[in-house]
Structure formats: structure tokens, C-alpha cells
């Protein structure tokens, strides 16, 4: 099989299980984001792919070849570290040429490749600068160029943007995604920033407590979260209890929701519904009745907090479709059934 497969990977540190039976297939040329809160095992998983940690159990297979215990230096992967790990004693050019130099490439070969890569990362002519004289964004690019110098089989990045300020981070995300598409290289990025994952990835892998909670395309993850953890971690959401009443209708907060169906044999479940999917109308007509408790007008969006049966529900609208309500008003809450995702328990 072409691509990377992780089969039942487990990593234990003493009594602590950092990664728990992770299985994942990454087709060639895919951009994967490992996403999760800190301590979820995503960095450990990446380090195992790189060979910097050895799995306690399971196998790592790349293009049909088992590389589980191959030493790091024989894997030919490119990696960008959280600290960037640029060699302080070398210039920009020598940093980028490092992997070529230790393989005995000639000076000319090195220079040609360095110039090529500097052009790719929009820093032509920087070869002779000392690393210490670069800005944060420039260091970031040099680290990327260095990792790509040998056209690696896999491109791994561990929280690569964490040192950049918010604006720069956003533009680097776009740039990195474009670079990856241009080169067609299989890429795995570890991040805790869901916006970053949504911007760049073909495949988002949400991890929690050492396990994969869901692996799917970004929109799929957002629209169809597998469980409450994923729904809550990706964007903001309303998590509501749903139960079947005596007539078999799905009921939320004491009101039957027309069109919403629970899977067979299930009496109780949770649903996730995104704030932008909730409509606020006048009370009645089968809508859930609630009281507006707070309105947050952010300019670009308006968030309305509504309390119903002791539960706070958030609805988001653009200013154009802003509901005409004030704090204290009674409103009807409409949950479009096609937007309600019934979550796994």
C-alpha cells in the first residue's frame, strides 16, 4: 500500500499511557493535522513516526515497508520542531544544506539546492546570514526549507507556528498549505489550534487522552462530530440531551422536535448543534421557549444567549439576519433537524 499506516500504536511511559492503540492510514500526498488539547498524545505520536520515540506496541509501515524500529537518521523524513531547532553555529545556508553536507554533497550541489529552497520560501539571498539575525517568521521558513532539503518521504511539523504572533501565523498557514500542494508531499502537522487544522488539512485527526476520537475531512469533523469531545473541541457548539417520549418522538428540553429521529433502540442521547444553525423566532409553533439573557455583539457576528429549562443555548447570526430581540424577551428556539448531530455515547 502506498502511504503511511500506523497499526495499533501504543506508547507507555511507566504507568502512563500517552498513546493508546492508534490506527491511522495516510494516503500519499495527504496533509494531516493531529489536533487535540495538550497532553493528548499527538506530539508523542509524531515523534514515534519520526523515530524519536519507540512505540511500546504496534507497527509503523511506510509504502509497504515496516519502519517501526528504523533509526531516525535512516528514515529520510523532514521535521520542523516546535523550537525550530536551527543550528546557532551555522548560517542560514549551512543550516539548509546540513543534510546534503553530511551526505558528502559537493559545495556546488549544496549551493544550488540552497538557492532553490530560499527562492521557494521567499528569502532569496539570505544564505550567508547568521540564524540569530532572523525574525520569527524568517526562522520559521528557514526551518521548513531545511526540513525539505532532501525531498523527504514525509514532512513532519510539531506545533510549528506556536512562536509566531496571530497575524503571521494565519499567513504562514496559508503559505505552508500552498507549499505542500505545490510539492505534493505527505505532511503531518501537530497542533492544538483548530483554526490552523481547518485551514491546512485534508485530514484532521482529533485526539483525546491518547486515542483518536475522529479522523475525517475538516468540514466533516465540523459538521458531523463523532462525539461530545470532538464537537466541543472543534469550534463552539450546543450540547443538548435528547430523549424519546412515549409516542417515540425525539424531545429536547421538554419540547418535541419535528423531523429529528433517534436511532432505533436508543431512548436517550446527546445532540450537538452549532450556534449558527439555531434560528430564533417568536415563541409558539412547536419551538422551544426560552428567555434571552445576554447579547454579545461582536460586529461581524451577533451571539444571543437564551435560557430554556435551566440550560443556556447560544445562537449566532450575522448582523444582517440579527434577531430583533432584547435581553429579557421571550423567544422561540428552532432546531433544524438536519443540523442536529446525534453523538456517540
Amino acid at each position: 500500500m502506498s502511504g503511511l499506516s500506523l497499526n495499533d500504536i501504543t506508547k507507555e511511559f511507566g504507568n502512563f499511557t500517552a498513546v493508546d492503540q492508534v490506527t491511522l492510514n495516510v494516503p500519499h500526498g495527504t496533509f494531516v493535522c493531529l489536533l487535540g488539547p495538550s497532553g493528548c498524545g499527538k506530539t508523542t505520536l509524531l515523534r514515534m513516526v519520526a523515530g524519536l520515540e519507540e512505540p511500546s506496541a504496534g507497527t509503523i509501515v511506510l509504502d509497504g515497508q515496516d519502519i517501526t524500529s528504523a533509526p531516525t537518521h535512516k528514515r529520510n523524513f523532514g521535521m520542523v520542531f516546535q523550537s525550530l531547532a536551527l543550528f546557532p553555529h551555522l548560517t542560514v545556508g549551512d543550516n539548509i544544506a546540513y543534510s546534503l553536507r553530511i551526505r558528502g554533497a559537493s559545495r556546488d550541489e549544496q549551493n544550488t539546492r540552497v538557492d532553490e529552497l530560499l527562492k521557494l520560501i521567499h528569502l532569496p539571498g539570505f544564505a550567508d546570514r547568521p540564524v540569530a539575525k532572523l525574525s520569527g517568521g524568517q526562522r520559521q521558513r528557514v526551518a521548513i526549507a531545511r526540513a525539505l532539503a532532501l525531498s523527504p518521504r514525509l514532512f513532519l511539523l510539531d506545533e510549528p507556528m506556536s512562536a509566531l504572533d496571530a497575524k503571521l501565523r494565519e499567513s504562514m498557514q496559508v503559505e505552508l498549505r500552498q507549499l505542500q500542494q505545490q510539492l505534493g508531499i505527505t505532511t503531518i502537522v501537530v497542533t492544538h489550534d483548530q483554526r490552523e487544522a481547518m485551514t491546512m488539512a485534508d485530514l484532521v485527526v482529533v485526539m483525546g487522552e491518547g486515542r483518536i476520537r475522529q479522523a475525517a475531512a475538516p468540514v466533516e469533523i465540523y459538521r458531523r462530530p463523532a462525539d461530545a469531545f470532538v464537537a466541543d473541541f472543534i469550534g463552539s457548539t450546543n450540547l443538548l440531551e435528547v430523549s424519546a417520549d412515549s409516542a417515540g418522538r425525539a424531545t429536547v428540553l421538554g419540547t418535541a422536535v419535528a423531523g429529528l429521529e433517534l436511532p432505533a433502540q436508543v431512548a436517550h442521547a446527546s445532540i450537538s448543534i452549532r450556534p449558527e444553525d439555531i434560528h430564533l423566532t417568536t415563541p409558539g409553533n412547536g419551538a422551544i421557549t426560552g428567555t434571552v439573557t445576554f447579547i454579545r455583539d461582536l460586529g461581524g457576528t451577533v451571539e444571543t444567549f437564551v435560557e430554556a429549562s435551566g440550560k443556556t443555548i447560544v445562537a449566532v447570526a450575522t448582523p444582517r439576519e440579527r434577531p430583533n430581540v432584547t435581553v429579557g424577551a421571550q423567544v422561540g428556539i428552532v432546531l433544524p433537524p438536519e443540523s442536529c448531530v446525534v453523538l456517540k455515547k
Partner: protein, 267 residues
């Protein structure tokens, strides 16, 4: 105002206390005749030339320099793999060797000297010149061990990981990343050991004192038979060597960091 004045006065007093004996020796060393006189009578650099022209002094200088060069090299050869191992591997028990490396420097020197004297006498090598080199290497191994441990601790471990993802094996990492980064610490460790070995008296005296004269031994022997101005010129020579070596370390490295200041404090 008064406080500033007092502070300056205090600095001057300490500086004067530290410099006074050396200034007097400097003055004495340029006396024209073989007098112990200050202020000097006349001016002559003859006593400096004597270090190199007089056979006894020249031999002592040569012996000292050779001893210091080899002892410092040996001390670094012991300290480097030890410090590297302690940094590279997780082996708490190996710290016992670190303790052994520091012990000779903390204990009163006469103890190490006496231990080595009994050892060389028992094994029958007493008086051989090379025993002094080994003795000094053990006595001063602390210095490169401390500077190198500091050096290794300052290396960001992700640099090593980065190198290995780019295809470098352990040996290549050591050569292309670790060594260049600890080189300043290695050089300082060597320089510290060199200068202190050059000045060391009691260990050298107890191990090879009866067969070989290093400069400090020669000065002390000369001192017992009275004064010769060459003692003064040699002293000035020694101070200059020390000042030049430490000056170079300060120029090319961060001496404040080596002596325990944090690297990040901006002043």
C-alpha cells in the same frame, strides 16, 4: 553623592589590595642591580631575559609549560567523555564519577598530593616526570568537567533530534552539532586547567619535587636561599599569562555565564 563616592572608594581599595603586591613585584623586577628595592633603582629588562637565558630558569619554564599542556589535555580527555556520557545517557549511578572528579578540587590540596605521593611511591614510579602530568590531570579535572557540563546543559536537545531527522547518526551529530557548540566550553576548561597547573606547587612538589623543577618549585627553592630578581620577573610573567588567557576567554566566550550568571539576564 556620598554613597557613590564611598562605593568608588571601596572598589579602589579592593583593587589596590589585590594589585599592590603585584605592582611592587613589577617594580622590583625592573631593578638594574640585583637589589630587592622599591621604587626600582634604574630600569632594566635583564631579569626578564634571564627567564629564557639562564639554563635553570629556562628548564623550569619548559618543564612547567610541558607539564601544564599535557596535564590540561589529559584532564579534558577525562572530562569530555564523562560529561558527554552524563548528558547523553540516563544513568544516575554514573554521577559518582562526577563526584570523584570534583572531590580533589574541594579537598585541601595537601590531601590529594599526599595520596598521590603514597601511590607513586608504592607502585615504584615515584619521581618520573609523567607521574606529575597524571597527578595534575586528576587534580584539575574538575575545571573542564564543570565547564563542559555547563556547555552540554546549554545545548537544546531538539538540535540533536533535528540533526538525526536530517540523517545524522550519533557520530555525525557529535562531530557537526555537539562539538561545535561545546567548543568554547572545552577551550575554557583547557585554559583553566592549563593556568592552574602552571601555578601549582604542592602536588608537583610531592610527586616529582626531587627529580624535576617546575617554575613554582624553582621559585620556592630560590626563595629559601634568599632573593634573586628573576623571581620577580617570573611572577610578573605568570600574572601576564593568566590575565591573557582569562582575557581571551572573556573576549571569545561568556565568562560571566561560566562563573554562574544566567545567560538571559540583560545588562
Amino acid at each position: 553623592m556620598i554613597e557613590k563616592f564611598l562605593r568608588r572608594l571601596y572598589f579602589i581599595a579592593v583593587a589596590l589590595f589585590l594589585a599592590a603586591p603585584l605592582i611592587v613585584v613589577l617594580g622590583v623586577s625592573v631593578n638594574e642591580r640585583q637589589d630587592l628595592a622599591f621604587p626600582p633603582k634604574g630600569f632594566s629588562l635583564a631579569w626578564y631575559a634571564q627567564i629564557f637565558t639562564d639554563e635553570g630558569w629556562r628548564n623550569a619554564l619548559f618543564a612547567s609549560v610541558v607539564l601544564a599542556l599535557t596535564a590540561a589535555a589529559l584532564a579534558v580527555a577525562i572530562a569530555l567523555p564523562l560529561a558527554w556520557f552524563l548528558w547523553r545517557r540516563h544513568a544516575p549511578w554514573a554521577h559518582i564519577f562526577q563526584l570523584l572528579g570534583v572531590a580533589p578540587f574541594i579537598l585541601p590540596p595537601v590531601i590529594t598530593a599526599l595520596g598521590l605521593l603514597t601511590f607513586w611511591a608504592t607502585t615504584g614510579f615515584y619521581g618520573q616526570p609523567w607521574t606529575a602530568a597524571i597527578s595534575h590531570a586528576i587534580f584539575f579535572v574538575t575545571l573542564p568537567l564543570v565547564t563542559l557540563s555547563l556547555g552540554f546543559a546549554s545545548i537544546d536537545r531538539s538540535l540533536v533530534e533535528a540533526a538525526s531527522t536530517m540523517g545524522a547518526d550519533d557520530r555525525t551529530v557529535a562531530k557537526t552539532v555537539v562539538l561545535p557548540l561545546i567548543l568554547p566550553y572545552l577551550v575554557s576548561g583547557y585554559a583553566f586547567a592549563f593556568v592552574l597547573s602552571l601555578n601549582e606547587y604542592i602536588v608537583a612538589y610531592m610527586t616529582v619535587g626531587f627529580t624535576m623543577e617546575t617554575l613554582p618549585i624553582k621559585i620556592f627553592n630560590a626563595l629559601r636561599y634568599g632573593y634573586t630578581p628573576t623571581m620577580a620577573s617570573v611572577t610578573v610573567f605568570f600574572v601576564l599569562i593568566a590575565a591573557i588567557v582569562f582575557g581571551l576567554i572573556a573576549r571569545f566566550g561568556d565568562i560571566r555565564r561560566l562563573l554562574g550568571a544566567m545567560s538571559s539576564d540583560g545588562k
